[in-house]
Amino acid sequence: MSVSDETLMAYADGEVDEATRAIIEAAMRENPEVRRRIAEHRALREAMQGAFSAVLDEPVPQRLIHAARGQTAAPAGGHVVDLAGARRAAAGQLPGRRLRSWQPVAMAASVLMGVALGYVGWHSAKPLVTTGSSGELLAGAGLAEALSNQLSEERSPGLAAITGLSFRAKTGDYCRTFSLTGSHASSGLACHEGGGWTIKVLAQSLPAASNSSNFRPAASADPPAVRAAVEESIDGEPLDRAGEIAARQGNWSASSGR
């Protein structure tokens, strides 16, 4: 009798029922070819397990352990502070008040830079980051100027703020990712709300990936927190150039362009 190779494979993996097992074991006794094929399946299984087991003995990076315990996540190379917490602390509020529609993002991203408020007011002539009346982080004049005017593909090197991806969020607001260069190199996500740009996520930029990587994030190396926030909040596809121009003409107002 002949047994299909898929059945022999399932036998080697312990995935067949009793009846099939009996048939295969009878075939094994009679047919050396069946024995050889099963031995080959088992050897391959062992080889695969052996080849990839080294990673199990490596120490697990602390940032992953922290992430699994729900402790403030630390993307590689970045100190991290919870944005909502920083906002509350700045406003002297008790915990518990959160941005409604952004709650998942605030939690998922659970973001932030080394002492979030250390950024506030830095670059004082045209501050990049500032705080609003209730302690929320806002784009300062320097960053707002770039977010409002600069198209993603026209990165002008002179600006401290480099805009990245633009999209319409599920809330209807326009949002843009940005990178800040210089000694405080960081990336973030800002959304245009109530006439200004509110910063949803700000995280220290990742160091450039090693050149052995074939999975390097795009050159901006957005920290995972920023990427996760975009994935959580984006509605559809990012804006193309024409979409950005239209949004800019409408002053990035949620009611424009739709």
Binding site: V60, R69, R155, A218, V230
Partner: protein, 170 residues
């Protein structure tokens, strides 16, 4: 998941699974640092969705599935970014790029990297992670028949590659 205690218990179970999550991630993304980034994203997502996990389901399968979905999102958003603002990198490949690269020595890892993605994931979940066929099929969101046929083709290709004398590849 109604009490903090049970959440903490699950968090510690996730901590215990981190080595396996890292191993699975490296079969999705070869660069270790990037693979760890995927694990971190997946774990953060899992904690947000703990209410979606049912304690009768296997925690490892559930996490593998979140990791695999996070990776798919990453590949998609990467493609978007490449299109939008990194045109010079648009030709860079993800994951399977290694298949076309020169391979010095046909190690098991190298052979694995040459497999098409669907087969590599099936092999990784069943042969490396030791999942049952039905659990692996669930992680990949495919019927069990699809899983077994990918697994069979992946195995066949691996066996053929590993049987070749090294000198035959140059």
């Amino acid at each position: 998941m109604s009490t903090n205690e049970s959440t903490e218990t699950i968090q510690e179970q996730i901590v215990a699974l981190l080595p396996r999550l890292r191993r699975f991630a490296r079969n999705l993304v070869r660069a270790p640092h990037d693979a760890d980034d995927m694990v971190q994203i997946a774990v953060e997502r899992a904690l947000l969705r703990l209410d979606q996990w049912h304690s009768d389901a296997r925690l490892d399968s559930w996490l593998f599935k979140i990791l695999r979905n996070a990776w798919i999102d990453e590949v998609r958003s990467r493609a978007r970014r490449a299109k939008l603002f990194m045109p010079e990198e648009a030709g860079e490949h993800v994951g399977e790029a290694s298949m076309e690269r020169e391979i010095d020595r046909l190690s098991v890892e190298a052979a694995m990297a040459r497999l098409p993605q669907d087969q590599r994931l099936a092999v990784s979940l069943v042969l490396v992670e030791g999942l049952a066929y039905k659990d692996a099929a669930d992680v990949l969101d495919v019927p069990i028949g699809t899983l077994t046929s990918r697994l069979a083709r992946g195995r066949e290709a691996l066996a053929a590659m590993l049987r070749l004398p090294e000198g035959d590849f140059s």
